[in-house]
Amino acid sequence: MQVLIRGWSCRDLRGGLRNLSVDLGTPPARWTLVQMPNGTGKTTTMQLLTAVLTAHDWTVDEVQALRPTVATTSGGFELRLLVDNQPLSLAVEFDFVAGTAEYSTTRVRALGGGKEPGILLPDLLRAMLTKDFARLVVFDGELARHIRDLKRNEAALAIQRLYRLELIDTLSQTAERYLESEKLRALSSRAKTNAGLKKKQALRDEAEYQLGQLLVEREDLDRQRDKHFEDRARFEGLITTRVGVDSKRKALLESKRADEQTAVADTRAASQRLLELLRTPATVHERVLARLRALGGKLDQLKLPQTMSQEFFHELADQDVCVCGRPISATEHDAILARAPHYLAENQIAIINAMKSAIRTATAEHDELQRLADAINVADRRRRLAAEAVQALVEDAAAEGDLAIAKAQSDLMRVANLLAAIESRLEVLSGPIPAGADAWKRNIKAAQAEFEARKRALDDATETRRLALQTAWLTDVLHRVRARAEARLTEDIRARTNQKLIRLIPSESIEVARIDGALVLSSDEGGARGGVSEGQSLAVAYAFLTSLFEAASYQLPFVVDSPAVSLDVRVRREVASLVPDLFHQMIMFVISSEREGFADGFYAKPGARFITVWRNQAGEVNMSQDLAVFKAFHTDVEPDAESAGVKS
């Protein structure tokens, strides 16, 4: 599916958007650079673009905020699209008196068509264009600078939506629905036992409801936790800024924080390795290994396990004649059977042989254990010293009378307490099954087990057990297919992102270590984030977004605000050379300072469109599509209207 933006129009809206119509041509230009200084409605245009694409639910306050003057009673915005080469317009009409917004869609259809109420995008597009996803298509500078602060699952969700992984879930749901309808049919056809079945159904529904409640609670707690993490980062940032007023102290603070992060990363790495080693019993101590070897030797010496198994004697008892040639009567038969349990069964023999084999190959690694324990000690001491030094610097700054630091420290403490409470509840919810008969009311694993047990009871009662098993098998396969598809897509996008980062930031090794819900850079792995500049963060954002979209079967326009403002000229040139080919259509809102190194890279591109919007001295908004005006424009100098072919 291909979506292109043909243009947009604004009528009687705040900022410079009293009467502005932007036309991107037929067919729409692949690259459009819109130079809009502050105050000409750039942010509002971005907001309106997102709103009509996502059918945003406007509040009265939001509508009122768009009202240009008290005397204005209505205003509107229209976005003109081409969806698979069919024109489609999305419009919103604001009633400033009532504080309401009405959407409408104008489209061509075989039957009907014309203007219809509501946002009527094709189903596939509507399902994809959620508010979060639209942020990646209509991409504002704020998100660009904080790409790594994407909400916990935003990057992963974008991948899922763009590559339609939810279709696999739809298959599972279809199978589940079919099973459910079969159960209902069985329930209604068994009049005699209806009461018992209904009770089982009610029990299952109760457990399903409880499980749903617990999952919702976990989601809610996760959201709260994310918010507190954001707050914590904000307060820490505030402290760093305030402490950094003194440049010497700032340098020291950054260096100590970096030390702390490295020490945390070292501690984690050594701990994981040590835990892995401990999971092999024989490595723990030479005494354990010696005992295991002695056991192996003892068994060998005693010729255990013996070659004859219980099964041999069971077979022998059923014979008429013994291996020694003597007949086996009822007395011998019973005697042989009575003694058979004294011999190991074949399966026990197999396990003893496996045990002996494992013992033979086991080794002790106590030196490595000691080394890792020492490494943890050293790294932990380094971490403590660095943390103490950071704390001392903060306290020094606070002692100099900086009240904002003291406040931020108290806020940090409050957030830490809230986080501890949330994590404690999450532990009960998501941790192992606690003791007690009503554990399923508090713990997700227990609730899942209870739901499964009750579901099985109902399946048995409705004789749909076989179908239930088949459905479970199918669902499991689909689940695994989805997980594998998601993992491969994610890895592919990560690798593509890193390839681009090598080009964008060749001087430093910045790479995406994981896309684990959000983007995690290698430098984040140690703990707190640091060491990545705003420009580098933006480069990561572009590398990720272009990688995200380039292999998708959807071709969506990419609208971006201030794409290069925080990049240095060299990175700008790289971004300007990398990004254009990766999007089918790009609309870039720029300011004059972004021309050098970024916008100028588009001057020679055939079909690129350059729009300049400014306010004249009378406060009216003017627009020019002349490249010369675009090149020469300065915020504080109004272009010569006549030579620029200005529309106002």
Partner: protein, 158 residues
């Protein structure tokens, strides 16, 4: 699980089933059980059944990271039981009977229900030793370095 382990290891926590980790945590609750078990088997310390929390069958199967060690764990149990019951090294019949009692190839752990019950009791015995020797750990690194010291006391090493 031995009673009290959840509280004792509380500061460490277990990674969530969806892989979310809040810090350095045990990958599964079995890690806690296993660390206790090794100490209990080594010390031949059998805890009481009443020291265990009854939450149904805790171990139906070992987690993936432990499956390769299932036969070694079975071997350690057999060795500890032979020692605890003072069964002589040459008493072939008694040793064979112990194996009959403790092993079952059909179970995922390779242990019979009797063997499984005893394993749980050794874990409880090990937990009581750990609790006697260590304060409740504040983090996984904190626990691991202390745990290595239980096995290799600093004095003995120097």
């Amino acid at each position: 699980m031995p009673k009290g382990t959840v509280d004792f290891f509380k500061a460490i926590g277990v990674a969530r089933a969806d892989g979310t980790q809040f810090g350095t945590q045990f990958a599964t609750q079995f890690d806690e059980y296993y660390l206790c078990l090794l100490v209990g088997l080594d010390a031949r310390r059998l805890g009481q059944v009443s020291d265990l929390v009854s939450t149904g069958e805790f171990i139906k199967d070992y987690p993936t990271s432990f499956q390769a060690q299932s036969t070694v764990i079975a071997g350690l149990l057999v060795d500890a039981e032979l020692d605890r019951q003072l069964i002589g090294a040459v008493d072939r019949d008694a040793i064979q009977q112990e194996m009959l009692r403790l092993l079952d190839h059909n179970s995922a752990t390779g242990l019979s229900s009797v063997g499984q019950g005893l394993l749980n009791q050794y874990a409880a015995g090990g937990f009581s030793i750990i609790r006697d020797q260590l304060p409740s750990p504040q983090s996984l690194p904190d626990l691991l370095r202390a745990y290595v010291h239980i096995w290799h006391p600093p004095d003995a090493a120097s």
